[in-house]
């Protein structure tokens, strides 16, 4: 029995420690973002890695998400004779919910995992220690450009996701199922307001910061993981944890942000 409580206590302390570390990591990362000098070329490079290189997967998933929304929406709405609302249904679903969430999940899988693995490898091969010993702040040099790039990229990728999704819905709802093109766009124009776009924008901004925070900190502290976070196995397990935690956090935050912004 005593053993059980000891384990429970050790677990609680471990997770409390991890949470505290992540909090400190966020603090130093935000501080290094605000404080000059600003590393413009590193930010551009990271925006390319996180944003531009994710474009294809975003277009692909956005298109098919829109197409399936068009297909499902058309069949459901046609039961009530409301096919004319397909455009606004597709657009609102994408702009308010699916766009930010799915784009964030895609970026987590593509760029978040890469960020965690990259920083994790830098940690276990003493490259981060080397930076510290050279009096170069690792937060400023490695983390801040990724953070800024994540915050810049996610809203833009979400916008691309939304637009391709709307076009996917159009392809199926209008092109394949014979809906009216004018009605598709006019219902969208009528029902989608600034508040919807604002909600999607705020969500994508928050998700961008969330992904980089979780993935970068998991890599940064890979050596402090329970059971020894060393070697390829340590990095692989940290990367898995980072992707799972980011994905779950995106869905949780989505609910909270929606309830605040609605």
């Amino acid at each position: 029995m005593q053993n059980y409580f000891e384990k429970l206590g050790a677990n609680a302390l471990y997770h409390l420690n991890q949470t505290g570390r992540m909090g400190i990591f966020l603090f130093y990362s935000l501080l290094s973002i605000i404080m000059p000098p600003y590393k413009i070329s590193a930010i551009i490079k990271q925006t390319y890695v996180i944003g531009v290189l994710s474009t294809f997967v975003i277009i692909f998933t956005g298109l098919f998400s829109g197409m399936v929304l068009g297909l499902q929406g058309y069949h459901t709405l046609s039961k009530f004779g409301a096919e004319g609302l397909l455009g606004s249904a597709v657009a609102l679903s994408l702009i308010r919910e699916l766009g930010p969430v799915l784009a964030a999940l895609m970026v987590t899988g593509r760029a978040g995992s890469a960020i965690c693995a990259e920083i994790g490898i830098m940690r276990i091969s003493e490259q981060i220690d080397a930076l510290e010993c050279m009096a170069i702040d690792p937060h400023k040099y490695i983390i801040a450009p990724k953070f800024i790039a994540g915050i810049i990229s996610l809203p833009l990728l979400t916008a691309i996701f939304d637009v391709t999704g709307i076009m996917g819905g159009y392809l199926v709802g209008v092109g394949m199922l014979g809906g009216n093109a004018g009605t598709y766009f006019s219902s969208m124009y009528k029902d989608v307001g600034f508040s919807d776009i604002y909600m999607g924008f705020v969500k994508s901004l928050c998700f961008g910061a969330l992904i980089i925070w979780i993935c970068a900190s998991k890599g940064y502290y890979v050596h402090l993981n329970r059971g020894g976070g060393f070697g390829a196995e340590g990095v692989s397990s940290a990367t898995t944890n980072a992707v799972v935690l980011s994905s779950v956090s995106i869905l949780l935050f989505d609910y909270f942000l929606t309830s605040v912004l609605l």
């Binding site: 490898i121 091969s125 490259q127 220690d129 080397a130 510290e132 010993c133 050279m134 009096a135 040099y141």
Partner: protein, 256 residues
Amino acid sequence: MNNNAIVELIDIKKSFGSQQVLRGVNLRIMEGKTTVIVGGSGQGKSLIIKHILGLITPDSGRALVYGKELNRISKKELKDIRTNFGVLFQNSALFDSMTVYDNVALPLRERTMITEDETGRIVNEKLKMMDVEGTNNKYPAQLSGGMKKRVGLARALVLDPKIVFFDEPTTGLDAAKSNEIYRVFSRTQQKLGYTSVIVSHDVPKIFKLADYVALLHNGVVRDCLTPDEFQLSDDPVIKDYVETTMGPLYSSEMEV
């Protein structure tokens, strides 16, 4: 504190889980001198360097560099102290996604305001000093072990540091390559005049470079002596270490 001791470790203790690695390390590093830390594998020699670098916080005890206790100063003060450091890590710790040139240029680009032309001149000069000129566009993965060490040394020395740490500089190198590293070390120290701390297994060869030798045994520094004093020490642990690593020849000399 002695005015010449720029680094002082006082009763440093460090454990990892139930394993106590350092059990009260006391050590002084004298300015302008070469101090070599020797001892068996897994004794915590590299851990001592990490305490001096401020990468690890001791469970108890004090690590003083320039009279400042590392775990009691601000992040900025620690950063200021580290501007005096140059470090050659055991595995060189080169940035594997950067070329040799970018690796060596990094401290100059991040810590100075000099032009790219000047950076190029200094980088090429240091690479030449280490006999690795012409490798500018290679990546660390394309270099041999000895070349990586020399590039690591070039990076460590690029800002002319006051204290240079070498963690197992010759581990994994054959005798010829080890000698090359020692030659480079000797040449650069004469030229730049830095204080150096070397963790090494390479006994007795490393004694030729040392002003002081410290033996780490069972988590404590037994003593820090000049190489001659070290080899003739009456301390049974040091004596045993000397006999084990240098052979019976020395013990017979001692008996004379």
